[in-house]
């Protein structure tokens, strides 16, 4: 039997997290409160976790930062600084829904029509929304409104609402409609262009050139050029061979390209550290 690859483990983690946030409100309803909270702020026993954007918003608005929030946000940002935006590809339940929609769409067309990548515009749109939302909150609003755009938070909130107060939130429709739209467009629209929660994670990852990224060794690559399996595998329509040149804005280090390359020469691998030898090879 073949050993399960990186995609198996990733899906396992994703489904595990998605299931956990169904089970946690149920346990809370039974008064088992070891794990509490949702994707905006969470507590696992003594360990706090927090969405860095939510923390940034209330810190700037109130000039106040509690120890819990500081530690929680620092853990999330530290993970992003070391490993990139793995939250998006390994943890986020909406990321899972969006990827499943993308996979289904790809299977339907058997991987034929590749969408041309739009690399920088997505981040620019996201950044604009982030700036407007933050400024709007600081100047006009009384509540951190960007929190309402957090789809993982809405995912966990659906089950909080259901198990604690028997309320079926209309957010269910939202969380099913958006992957349906992405099934049609095939661009991971929300993750690429809208999700403001990812902006801080991306900024932190761009600050650290030594973070985990996919490296390409041109000598080992044995695939024919036009339809690379690695490009087919990327759910964000990136070209994995170029990811090592700089820290990529969009790449979430999901490892699908690495898995696709595994049986074809292993030219793509994960690696830490500033880029040195491999880029020289890629240029040859």
């Amino acid at each position: 039997m073949r050993r399960p690859g990186i995609k198996f483990w990733r899906r396992l983690v994703q489904f595990g997290v998605a299931t956990a946030f169904v089970v946690i409100p149920l346990l809370n309803h039974l008064h088992i409160n070891v794990l509490t909270g949702n994707f905006l702020a969470f507590r696992a026993g003594p360990l706090p976790l927090a969405d860095p954007l939510a923390v940034l918003q209330i810190t700037l608005k109130n000039f106040y930062l509690s120890a819990d929030l500081l530690v929680g946000a620092a853990i999330a940002l530290g993970l992003a600084a070391a490993m990139g935006t793995v939250f998006c590809s390994w943890i986020c339940p909406f990321g899972l829904l969006s990827e499943l929609a993308q996979d289904a769409a790809r299977r339907r067309t058997s991987g034929q029509d590749r969408v041309a990548p739009q690399r920088r515009t997505g981040f620019a749109v996201k950044l604009t929304l982030f700036g407007l939302g933050l400024a709007g909150f600081l100047v006009f609003s009384t509540t951190p409104v960007l929190n309402q755009l957090s789809l993982p938070a809405w995912y966990s909130r659906i089950f909080q609402f259901y198990f604690e107060q028997r309320h079926i939130s209309l957010a269910v429709v939202l969380l099913l409609a958006l992957p349906a739209v992405e099934f049609g467009f095939r661009r991971r629209l929300w993750c690429r262009c809208i999700c403001p929660q990812s902006v801080l994670l991306i900024c932190v990852k761009l600050l650290n050139p030594a973070q985990l990224k996919v490296r390409f060794d041109a000598h080992k690559c044995i695939c024919a050029k036009p339809r690379d399996p690695c490009r087919q595998a990327c759910s964000l329509s990136l070209d994995p061979k170029t990811l090592a040149e700089a820290v990529d804005v969009a790449c979430n280090n999901c490892g699908d390209c690495v898995a696709a390359c595994k049986r074809r020469g292993r030219a793509l691998r994960f690696g830490f550290g500033p880029h040195a030898r491999d880029s020289g090879d890629a240029g040859v």
Partner: protein, 156 residues
């Protein structure tokens, strides 16, 4: 009007400051053993996901678990005597004791701050003092609905 007359959980800061700090994470509702804290439903971007208490349905018993767990201190971790959620108003025209019909001590007996927030005048008639923090238990137990809890949110 009655639906909007909800309380914030004990220890909540003044309304505007509370909203600016609340992360809408729902931990207060999750640790509430009396299941009185409900998260605001719907898609109102300013209120959705914030905690509220409707004392007619389920009042707060001032166990203070919620304010202890709040990660952003939107609910301050204060002793229950300083919970300042609101204050109760007793309508003597509806109260059976004050009307002289029967002797009812429901509110007095159930008050978490018994003999502090509610005292018995002449050993008989319930009177709500200014020590009342507005948990809403008396409103919940009053058989004649003579008590209404007014949230501190409305007082600026």
């Amino acid at each position: 009007m009655l639906r909007s007359r909800f309380l914030r959980p004990p220890g909540a800061r003044p309304e505007e400051e509370f909203l600016a700090r609340c992360l809408q994470c729902g931990q207060c509702a999750q640790v509430c053993i009396f299941e009185c804290i409900r998260m605001r439903t719907g898609f109102n971007p300013f209120l959705s996901g914030t905690p509220e208490i409707s004392p007619r349905q389920a009042p707060c018993f001032l166990c203070m678990r919620c304010s202890a767990i709040c990660p952003s201190d939107a609910l301050e971790d204060v002793p229950k005597e300083k919970a300042k959620m609101g204050f109760a108003r007793l309508n003597r025209d509806k109260c059976t004791t004050w009307k002289g019909l029967i002797i009812c001590r429901s509110c007095f007996e159930r008050c978490p701050l018994k003999a502090t927030a509610i005292v018995l005048e002449r050993g008989l008639y319930p009177v709500i003092t200014d020590q009342c923090v507005g948990c809403g238990v008396c409103e919940h137990v009053c058989p004649r609905r003579a008590i209404v809890t007014i949230p501190t949110r409305f007082v600026t």
